[in-house]
Structure formats: C-alpha cells, structure tokens
C-alpha cells in the first residue's frame, strides 16, 4: 500500500456538522486551507459561518466531523499557533492598551514583543489609554494586536469590520494586507463582498449550513457569469417592456437585466422605446454572485 500523501493544507475541515437542539447550524462542511493564503467564508447572517469558524478555532466541539491543523487534531500546538479575533470581545475594564497586549503575550510561550505588536497595529500612541476608552476602529486594532501576540501561523478574523465606519474599515483592510504580506494564513468571515474581493485568495460561500460554492473569487465569477449586467432606473423602464424575453430583477430603485447577448438586448430595448440615457453596464461582482447563489428574497 502506498504511503498516504502528506496534505499540503494547514487546516482541514472534514464533514463538519454542528447541531443544536432546535437547529442544524453546520450541515456537513468540508474544505481545506493551504498555508499562506487568505481564505474567506462568506454567507448571509445565520448561514453558519461563525459556528464553522468557532469549531475550527477549537472553541466549540463539533457534533460530527473533525478539524485538523498540520495534519493533527486541534490541541495544545494549535492553541500556541493560532491567533483569533472574535466577532465580539470585551477586555478587562481599566487595563491600558499595553497591559491588555502584555496580558495575552504572557499566555503564550513564543511570540512578538509587546512593542512590536503595538507598532504593527499602529497603537503606539494609544499604549497608555484604557482599552474601554478606545473608538470602535481602535478597539478592533487592539483585538487584532492581541490576536498577533503569539506571531500566529493562522489568524482567524470573524467579521472584523462589522460596525466600523468606512475609513476605519479601510485602515483595517490595509493592516490585514500588511499581515498577509508576512505570509500568514488568514481565515476571514465577512458579509462585505468588497472586503472578500480585496483580501481573499480563495472563498467558500455558505448558506443554511452548507457550502454552495468554493474557489478563487475570479474563477467563481467566470464560472457563474458568462454574462454582463445592465442597470436601469425603475422609472425609465416601462411596464410594456416587461413582456420582453429578458432575465429581469427588480431592486428597490433599479431594474437589472442579465444577458449573454449585449447587442441583442440593447436592440430589443431600443425597439421597445426604453430610454437608455441612464443605462449602466457592468461586469458582475461577488455581491451579484452571492445574491445569485443565496437567493434574493427576504428571509424570515
């Protein structure tokens, strides 16, 4: 019997199931994350992203299936080598930024110097400020710093920019990109498609506890869309034109048309006297893919 090939994956998730009394949060999920990439887990709220990530982090026990780190079940080694930023974390009251970082640094055998962490996360000027007095963006930077104290091989970021203003979000993305440049493996969950497009090398889209698509963002887009999108303001789109043989979708203020045949579609719109002054043509993005796959209807 030939020896089993050594898996190049840093993290492997196999047939993961997590059931709660009332619901199945994760329903048979498998994927692997090679070293050095940023892996994005996307999905609407309640899709099972956070549950999947928390099982991967060793925080939640799975109902079935397993997670392997460097080919081994999660254990002490994983805890020493993983950095984690939860969706919501409070720190101890009254501790300064530096003290918070120092506390967590003291929990690991190896890692970065406290000053180095403060520098990476641009927290030097805030070092003496109490953590509870930081703004949302500063707090996320501190929590990221805490996730970096052990110089982790794998970094988990669970919806790290939810609730941040656009500027703080951009700052945070730049930080993550600089960490990516240090060849860290990153597991990112998000429901911001822009974030995923910018940061992720590979993504898995989850819905209702299952993975419904997986691959590099560009490949997923080209697989699912050989089409372009046309957008028209709703008021410019006459009712009569709805009878045309077009793939239509209504948003709150626009009508979207998806098509393989741009010229043919434009000709039929002109023939139906649809005004094209405000017409926009664009390639589909991850958000379109996300909506295409997870459905566009409102969920209860």
């Amino acid at each position: 019997m030939p020896p089993r090939p050594v898996s190049p994956a840093l993290l492997e998730v196999r047939d993961l199931v997590k059931r709660y009394p009332a619901t199945t949060a994760v329903d048979g999920v498998s994927f692997s994350v090679p070293e050095g990439i940023c892996f994005g887990l996307l999905g609407p709220n309640g899709a099972g992203k956070t549950t999947t990530v928390e099982v991967m982090e060793g925080i939640l026990p799975p109902t079935a299936g397993e997670v392997r780190f460097r080919g081994e079940p999660l254990g002490v080694r994983f805890r020493e080598e993983a950095g984690i930023l939860f969706q919501k974390t409070a720190l101890q009251d009254f501790l300064t930024v530096r003290q918070c970082v120092a506390l967590f640094r003291g929990l690991y055998a190896h890692g970065l110097e406290v000053d180095e962490v403060l520098r990476i996360c641009a927290l030097e000027k805030l070092a003496q400020r109490e953590a509870r007095k930081l703004s949302g963006g500063q707090q996320q930077r501190l929590l990221l710093g805490i996730a970096l104290v052990n110089d982790p091989a794998v970094l988990f970021l669970d919806e790290p920019t939810t609730g941040l203003d656009p500027q703080a979000r951009r700052n945070f993305w730049e930080l993550v990109q600089s960490i990516k440049a240090r060849r860290k493996t990153i597991i990112l969950t998000t429901h911001y498609m822009e974030e995923a497009e910018l940061l992720c090398d590979d993504i898995a889209i989850m819905d209702r506890g299952r993975i419904i698509a997986q691959g590099p963002p560009r490949r997923l887009l080209s697989e699912h869309f050989a089409e372009v999108l046309l957008e028209l303001p709703r008021q410019d789109f006459p009712e009569a034109a709805r009878s045309l043989p077009l793939k239509l979708f209504d948003t709150s203020d626009r009508v979207e048309i998806t098509t393989h045949d741009l010229e043919g579609t434009l000709r039929s719109l002109l023939a139906a006297h649809v005004p094209l002054t405000h017409l926009r043509i664009r390639p589909p993005n991850l958000e379109d893919l996300f909506l295409e796959l997870t459905g566009k209807e409102l969920r209860p």
Binding site: E57, G58, I59, V76, R79, E80, A82, I84, F86, K88, T89, A90, L91, Q92, D93, F94, L95, Q99, A102, L103, F104, R105, G106, L107, Y108, A109, I146
Partner: protein
C-alpha cells in the same frame, strides 16, 4: 504554567486597584459596621446577675441560693467552658453543688463580688476558688465577626460576579482561545482575591483594632494562617457558583441564598450557644462558622494550633472540595 497564571493574576490585580469605587467600598463598609455596632451595643451591661451552675439542669428547690431573686441561673455541663465564660465575665459566678458546695469567682469582676456575698449568705461554708480575667466587651466579641463577614462578602460576591462578568462579556471565551487552562485561570482568580482580602483584612484589623483598643490574646501567625484558609474556602465556594452560570439573576440568587444563612447563623452578631441543636448543626456546615469559632478562640482565649485544628482542617478540606467542583463544572462561554 506559572507564567500564564501570573499574567492573569497581575492583570486582575491591576483591574481591581484601578477600580477605585470598589476598593474604597470594600474598606469603608466594615469600618461603618463596627462603628455602628459599637454605638448600638457598646453601652453598660444590664444589671442582672448571671450565675452558672455545673450540671445538666437547675432546680430551684434544691438549694436556698437558687431561690435568690434578680439572679439568672444557667446550667452548664462543661466545666472548662463554664470557667472560660467566668474568665470573660460572661457569667458572674460559677457554682458546683455536687459533693459540698464549691464556687469560682472572677476577682476582677465587681458583679462577681456582689453575687459572691449572696452565695455566702445562703451557705457560709462554700469553698472559694478565685480566677481572674478582664471582661470581654461585646465589641471585642463582634470584631472577628465583622472581619469574617467582610471576608465572606468579598470572597463570594467579588469572585462570583467578576467571573460572571468575564463570561458574559466574552472575555473568558477569548482566554479560552489561548493555551490558558481552567485550573490556571481559577488559581489566578483565587490568588488575586486572596491577596486582596488578606491586605484589606490586615488594614481593618490594625485600623479598627486600634480604634476600639483591641488586643489579640493569641498568636498572630496562627491568626494569619486561619485567615488564609478561611478566605480560600469562601473564594472557592464563590467560584463553584460562578463556574457555570451565565445569568445575573441565578448567580445573584445563589449568592444571596448562601450569604444570608451565613449572616444569620455563623455567629457574626450573637453566639449560637443555647440555640437548638439542629441550628448549630446547620451552622457548622458553613466555612464562616468555623472561621469565626477559631478566630474568637485565638483572639479572645489565646487558643493554640491544636485547639483550632478541626476548624483549620474543615476549611482546608472544603477549599479542595469547592475548587475541585468549580474546575470540573467550569464553563468558558455562554452555552
């Protein structure tokens, strides 16, 4: 392991010291209590003579002295216990009618002098055995109780609510994602609270002790050992409650369920001697009862290690049981 434990220990100490409100409150409350109690109970004792009679019961018709008015006769079966009370002037005279009347009188007690005249009037040939000893004021007796009560609240609520707050805020969950173990975390909490309580208790002991002019009769090192074991036992008890639950109501309710019976039955305010046997039995389940019994024995009677060994053992044993149960049932996150 020590490195992780010390990190959490240090951070918890910093957090407490920065929280000025809690710090001041934990020093101020016991001072106010002692001042208040001293004011209420510190007046002169009531003008009633109290005579202890060795034996199981007192029957008035067996001796003319027992028919005296304005004298309360209390039967005491245990001679050494009765002598201790006489030394503290908790009784004014001790009489033994078995086989020729013998009596003990505290020569430092004015009431003892008067009631001795009454006895000698009834039976001039009674044999006299003098003892000496200053009266133990109620405030002296109360002092260990107040220190113990403060310790109890600080241990139970201080630890219980802190761990609950950590769990609810997700801080525990974040710690769980590090190599820190439950045992290390709990030990750090115990040590942090223990150092704090010992410091506060020492400040109160010296401060209030000076104000009320209290002098301990026993060995201060033994008292320190007792304080350490008593605090450990009650911190560990607080941790068993905080180990699992995530609801303020449940934790608050359980802490109250524990503290109120301890407040009433552990002998903080009044001695349990003379109360029904089942009350005493229940009272001796609580670590605080053992702490106070032993503390009073050392502080008021100068008891040595051998005399309070059962109390010390009980406190040590309960510490281990509570800590073991707490670590076993510990939850890092809200289920």
């Amino acid at each position: 392991m020590m490195r992780r434990l010390l990190s959490v220990f240090h951070a918890r100490n910093l957090e407490f010291l920065r929280d000025r409100g809690t710090l001041i409150f934990s020093l101020l409350l016991p001072v106010m209590l002692v001042v208040g109690m001293g004011f209420v109970f510190g007046g002169p004792p009531r003008p009633l003579f109290k005579v202890a009679v060795l034996g199981a019961a007192v029957e008035a018709h067996t001796h003319p002295f027992l028919a005296e008015r304005y004298v309360q006769f209390v039967p005491l079966a245990n001679e050494s216990e009765a002598l201790r009370k006489l030394t503290h002037q908790q009784v004014d005279l001790l009489v033994d009618f078995a086989g020729g009347t013998r009596y003990w009188v505290n020569t430092d007690s004015p009431k003892g002098y008067v009631v001795e005249r009454l006895l000698l009037a009834a039976e001039p040939g009674a044999r006299r055995q003098p003892v000496t000893g200053k009266a133990v004021r109620y405030i002296d007796w109360l002092f260990p109780g107040i220190l113990g009560m403060n310790m109890m609240f600080s241990c139970l609520f201080g630890v219980g609510y802190v761990v609950l707050r950590y769990r609810k805020s997700g801080f525990l969950k974040r710690l769980h994602a590090t190599p820190l173990t439950a045992f290390e975390f709990l030990s750090a909490q115990v040590l942090s609270r223990l150092s704090l309580i010992l410091f506060v208790t020492l400040v109160l002991y010296l401060g209030i002790g000076t104000i009320i002019g209290f002098h301990s009769a026993g060995n201060p090192l033994l008292l320190a050992l007792l304080a350490v074991l008593g605090a450990l036992s009650m911190i560990a008890l607080g941790l068993t409650i905080a180990a699992r639950f995530s609801s303020d109501e449940v934790v608050g309710g359980l802490l109250n369920v524990l503290t109120w019976p301890m407040m009433l039955l552990s002998g903080i305010w009044f001695s349990l001697e003379g109360s029904p046997r089942w009350v005493q039995w229940v009272a001796h389940i609580f670590p605080l009862t053992h702490l106070l019994d032993a503390a009073r024995a050392v502080m008021l009677d100068g008891a040595g290690p051998a005399q309070i060994a059962p109390n010390l053992l009980y406190l040590a044993a309960t510490t281990l049981v509570f800590l073991g149960f707490g670590a076993w049932s510990f939850r890092w996150r809200i289920d």
